[in-house]
Symmetry: C2
Subunit: 586 residues, 2 copies
């Protein structure tokens, strides 16, 4: 007995601390694979972390800090073996948009607001995880996510134009940003522009053409991987050295400047009610979007190795990572697509790879930050632009157009509203619209009037098949669960069908495809029953599923029904249709 | 050809002007029935109209005016033969709540805001009717409506306490009103209190006990009807005479005072953008709630005579009535339950009965208004309290508790939030909650793992039946349409099922109960297919419905499927399960 309880406790512990699962069986070969993956990912993350901090409007070190403790915490609580957690482009954009509304960029209040946002996100994620509410993320339909990510990619790339051009510009929507960029265009700094354009072109070439070239040269694949991932590092080194050597900062090229040499500091988020109130809704949005992105990546990678992840435990893992970010100088983080795929491709076998990456980044934060003093912002902007252009995928428009107009409307609205009115309005409208479109579709369910296929016991649509019908019996097959959105439709349909055929004596509702009858539908059925009684018409049901019947029996409906409940539609037909033989309908 | 076109035009005209339908065949007997009904309804409506105006915070004549032109317009455009349109309790409460936020009660701005509200409601209803969007009203589920009406009844009765007590009190929520009443209790006017309590008791007796008493005395039924409906009139006369005879107004009893002697005046609603903006959302709420109440009543009464109503044309009829109210000194109106049932029971055959009622009320507005000078407000409050207590029906709590917990949650939340936070918040939260609960229910669809019933071609749940299974083939029957809310659930389910059985070589999804696959579900199926491919497991579909298959063929999914699409589940079984014979599961 005691042994069982201990086993159960151990089971629960392993569920909440997945590290106990993989940690016990950690092998030397896993260690070496994890170390190699960590080296590649660290090289990739150093410039990326600085760049995403820039995108979020935070000092560059915030990006490094957000990649250290959060990775370690995810390694303890997360269930994915390959997910790499840290700052990502879309969440950085959402962060900038949220805290830009409560504090001025560059002020101390701005950095504190970022910590508070991470705290709220972390708290919300952990809460959802403990309540096992991972399903809430499902309210974001795929077209809404695709539209939102594409629009965000465009917004992010546009927001970096000012760094490439060396001008100052603002705005959170595409029209605002573009007009502001055009307005400030005369102030362009041509040296910055030259650095920005060449860095962008170089990174674009690395991304699209370097790998095939190296393959043609028969470079070993590990080296190929490191070289292609090191592209941004190369750009960083080249442009930093140029700025330093030719004193370009004197000529107006904006640089990163002094970055403290330090491990992640212990920080305290702001707790004022005003701040918490203002950031609550954005933090929910960031949590849900971050969670959806992270789970999709984790699930895809897990499947490749026939592993599985637990979405509710993922909430706890990501929540812990965000809480960690809140207290160590970071900002909201999530599992990123690019970094996780790189981690996976580089051979990471366990979350220990993430821990080694964290150590690499900690070393960078301690030792390498003086080296980025002369790093031009334009190079970081180029890194961001090349990274996010991969997010932009307008093919979703064509795909949904071909497949389903409702989904096309949802994706188009999400893109247009995100670009035109900002990220919060865009994604909120997309969610609302996709729910409304779904309700609209189910509000007019397919209801077929059916008749008997001669010489069988099957019933088919009278408008599609040669079937037997009888003017006194109307049989309607309802092809949808009945709930409040479509009950009135059914009431109207039956009322008009009965009003038009004055010979009708019986209405049979065939419930073979009805998976649920909610209380509204129950009351509608009662109203239909009463109205048909007033007309001296019988109401009957056939082929009611077990669970639906169980529920109906909890009400008085079955007792009050003025007709009968038939097990099969053929029973109903045999009992209700008077001999002699009925008509054949066209 | 020309004859057909004329016939079509006449048909369309009859649809939009139902009066052309019944007007052509109007008989002498219908005329006499309509006249009798009109007399009874007029007697009932005079005090009720004054009382509801008081509830809406408007001068008493507004209630009369709102019952005259709107009734006439509904008679022309409406499709119900028995519906009586005018001020009703719930809409009066909503009106008070909406315009109380933009103007001070008793000011000219308040009355103008009421006109604007009627204008916006009318415009919105006509627009919905022309766009044939009557289905939007379905978003109000029955439990939400029931909870809202019950809570409104309680709010309305409470709001009248101040008139019964002769004190002044304010507030739009139950706690606000109760604390304000208790706070002002020392200022109670005992004469007003005596009038209010006796009027309430008398009306309550008329409502519950008079009819049985008269029946026992074998009074003719028409006379019984008139006497019971005249109860409020009797209370009005008795209390008015008392106030006049004993000079009670001097002793602090609040009276109706001077009411202009006039037909409905021509009035102009306010058109300022501020006013329109502030009243837009409330007007939508009032329109939808009024429409739902009206259509339910109209449909119930139509069914009793095997007539039918056209919900989209009803929108136009009610919209016209509200536009009429906006330009003739009224406020938002709808088809009322009590007045329509009385009209129907009194034998009204056509909307002409409504027209005669309108004439009766016009005569009252012209000739009888001086007689109500000394009418105490307490009597009107008593009329309202007795009328709305019929709305309060807490049995809905028990009914939904027994039938479905989700519906119980929706109705409870609606009642609590309406009482605690006011009518707008209450109904909006109810709608949002019932939609979320529905989505939550469909987000975890019933998915059964099935096996072959021996010696048949039928497949049943392996956990409920003795069926044949094979460790290499997993067959899942999905009992719900697949759309964004439940796609991830399916992904997780399949992934965990396949991860736990390492012998699995084939997954078959049985789609017999899947009525729709939206774009999110398509992408999920594609992801499942890719992941299963990575695991060397085949994905197959069986029993896909025609329309679903047509849609899937518009995508590349069927080409990319690493398995096959089988017409029947038995085909799938025969092809995929290796001989020798499979196991029998418990």
């Amino acid at each position: 007995m005691k042994a069982t309880m201990n086993a159960r406790r151990a089971e629960a512990l392993r569920r909440y601390l997945p590290i106990l699962d993989w940690g016990r069986t950690y092998t030397r070969s896993a260690l070496s694979n994890d170390l190699i993956a960590a080296v590649i990912v660290t090289i990739m993350l150093i410039p990326q972390s600085l760049a995403y901090a820039l995108l979020a409007g935070l000092p560059p070190e915030a990006g490094l800090y957000a990649s250290i403790v959060p990775i370690l915490l995810y390694a303890v609580f997360g269930t994915s073996r390959s997910l790499a957690v840290g700052p990502v482009a879309v969440v950085s954009l959402l962060t900038a948009s949220a805290i830009g509304q409560v504090a001025e960029q560059g002020t101390a209040g701005y950095a504190v607001a970022a910590l508070t946002l991470a705290l709220l996100s972390g708290g919300f994620l952990v809460l959802m995880g403990v309540l096992r509410l991972g399903m809430l993320a499902n309210f974001l339909s795929h077209p809404v996510i695709a539209g939102f990510i594409t629009a965000s990619g465009i917004l992010i790339a546009t927001s970096q134009l000012k760094h490439i051009l060396g001008i100052s510009a603002h705005g959170h929507t595409l029209p605002e940003m573009l007009t502001d960029v055009i307005f400030h265009l005369p102030q362009i700094n041509w040296i910055t522009f030259a650095i920005g354009v060449s860095a962008t072109a170089f990174l674009f070439w690395v991304r699209t053409s370097l790998k095939p070239t190296l393959r043609r040269l028969r470079t070993p694949s590990l080296l190929t991987d490191i070289l292609t991932k090191a592209g941004p590092v190369a750009a960083v080194i080249a442009t930093t050295v140029s700025v330093w050597a030719f004193d370009l900062a004197e000529k107006g090229v904006k640089i990163v400047g002094a970055v403290p040499q330090s491990l992640p500091p212990l920080t305290v988020p702001g707790f004022s009610m005003d701040l918490l109130g203002a950031l609550l809704v954005p933090s929910v949005l960031i949590s849900v979007i971050g969670f959806v992105e992270s789970v999709s990546v984790a699930q895809t990678l897990a499947a490749k190795k026939r592993q599985r992840i637990d979405p509710d435990q993922e909430l706890i893992g990501l929540g812990a990572a965000n809480l960690g970010a809140a207290f160590t100088g970071g900002y909201p983080v999530t599992g990123g697509f690019a970094r996780s795929v790189v981690n996976f491709d580089a051979g990471a076998e366990t979350p220990a790879a993430g821990a080694f990456t964290a150590i690499g980044l900690a070393v960078a934060a301690l030792a390498l930050t003086p080296l980025v003093f002369y790093l031009p912002n334009a190079t970081l902007a180029a890194t961001i632009i090349v990274a996010v252009l991969g997010l932009v995928d307008l093919s979703i428009l064509k795909k949904t157009w071909n497949y389903s107009r409702a989904d096309f409307v949802a994706v188009t609205a999400t893109i247009v509203l995100t670009l035109g009115l900002g990220v919060e309005v865009g994604v909120a409208s997309g969610v609302a619209l996709s729910i409304l479109l779904h309700l609209y579709k189910t509000s007019r369910p397919h209801v077929a009037e059916v008749g008997l296929v001669p010489d069988t016991q099957h019933f088919r649509n009278i408008h599609r098949h040669q079937v037997l019908t009888d003017p006194t019996v109307v049989t309607l097959r309802v092809d949808e669960s009945l709930y409040f959105v479509n009950t009135r439709f059914l009431e109207d349909l039956i009322q008009s069908r009965v009003a038009e055929g004055s010979d009708v004596r019986h209405v049979v509702l065939m419930f073979s495809a009805v998976n649920e009858v909610d209380y509204s539908a129950l009351e509608s059925l009662e109203a239909i029953n009463r109205r048909l009684s007033d007309m001296d018409v019988g109401l009957h049901l056939s082929e009611v599923k077990g669970p639906v019947m169980d529920r109906l029996k909890r009400s008085h409906f079955v007792d009050q029904l003025n007709g009968r409940v038939f097990l099969s539609q053929y029973d109903a037909w045999s009992s209700l249709v008077p001999s002699p033989a009925p008509h054949v309908a066209a």
